[in-house]
Symmetry: C2
Subunit: 233 residues, 2 copies
């Protein structure tokens, strides 16, 4: 019924679509999943036949409600497993994603919900991504904006980190750049978008690509945002 591959496809469609209504392209899926484009075409036919997506040939796919439920449940499992591996088993922040990528497909709803209870019903995972209660959707209630779009010289609260390689996460964690941390941008290189940021007493450099992964609360940036021109390439 709901195989590993199927869950991975739905999860990836969900993530690529974001909250937008735009269709997800075959090639984008192929790249994210690390498979060839024809493999995606084939799977699309299957997912459409099972009523999990709507597929307009040559135009891309949308999740149906049924498909979205599977995607959300899979992502929820991933996040709870990550939080559990960190909090209960003491694995490090940067190594749990690979484990969770596998376990999300094996852990039953019963087990994952027990994990969530044992953790005290956390609302976010180690990267700051939201964990909803069972059967609710995943949308982040917070208004977030990427660090590379944030204004200079303002104290910002780091809310969550988009998916990154373990090395990058370790780099960030070693410099105190974890969810909840306070940072401010000291300088922005106009062409590349590289940033110098302050975390406590220390200053660190982030290139634009890494900065894009750091999401901060948008609330206190609103006032200044009109004056900035975006910054990211």
């Amino acid at each position: 019924m709901s195989s590993r591959a199927l869950q991975d496809y739905l999860k990836t469609i969900y993530k690529l679509a974001g909250d937008s209504t735009s269709a997800v392209s075959t090639s984008a899926l192929a790249e994210r999943l690390g498979v060839a484009a024809p493999s995606v075409s084939g799977m699309m036919k299957k997912l459409a036949a099972e009523g999990l997506i709507e597929h307009v040939p040559y135009q891309g796919v949308h999740l149906t409600d049924k498909g979205r439920r599977v995607a959300v449940e899979t992502i929820r499992k991933h996040r709870i497993v990550e939080q559990f591996l960190v909090q209960v088993l003491g694995l490090t922040w940067d190594e749990v994603d690979a484990e969770a990528e596998i376990l999300e497909h094996c852990v039953s709803s019963r087990v994952v919900n027990r994990m969530w209870e044992v953790l005290g019903r956390p609302v976010s995972d180690p990267h700051g991504s939201p964990i909803p209660p069972p059967d609710e959707d995943l949308h982040d209630a917070r208004r977030l904006c990427s660090l590379c779009d944030a204004p200079l010289h303002v104290s910002l609260r780091l809310a969550r980190l988009s998916e990154r390689l373990p090395e990058e996460l370790r780099y960030l964690a070693e410099r105190g750049l974890v969810p909840g941390a306070s940072v401010s941008i000291e300088e922005r290189v106009p062409s590349s978008g590289a940033l110098m940021v302050r975390v406590g007493e220390r200053l660190h450099v982030l290139d634009a690509l890494l900065a894009q992964a750091l999401m901060v609360d948008a609330i206190m940036t609103d006032a200044v945002l009109g004056e900035e021109d975006g910054g990211c390439t």
Copy 2:
């Protein structure tokens, strides 16, 4: 490399061989794994090619040291996961086997060893089966004997339970028949081998098949064992 199917085959060969040196037959494997005999034949060829078993056509298979290591590691993961699900996540004793059957193939060594540490390095799982330290073998140091071979009117300590269906485990647990419990046999029906056993104040009936799954410490039964004629069919 080490797929789900491969691990299941090796694990099952290990269990069917027991500590004996006897070969495991294709049909026995097919039955335990719930697949057709030709599927087993095919997989045997593959396992032999990978040096995990020795296969003498028409005569059955033996594990090699390499195959035994995979089997033992898989079984160890199963038992640690079971204990973890019971102790940490509060699942019930009878429902964890099915979960562990899946998770044993997904959980990394790193994760399972962290579970074992968090549990305080337990030496046995919820059914009383031994859990060795990492990379050691599984052999039960205790001398055990089945309840259906044990003498009458002697206090016996229940050491472990062989694998059973959840309903049977629930039946036993409800009557206090869990690892560590003290029992004595009040009566044995000669033909069928059915038993009446005392657990604390209560008396319960066990048929021979169920009694065979209950393993007790053999120490105190030795003296009397010569006088009995075995009992089990």
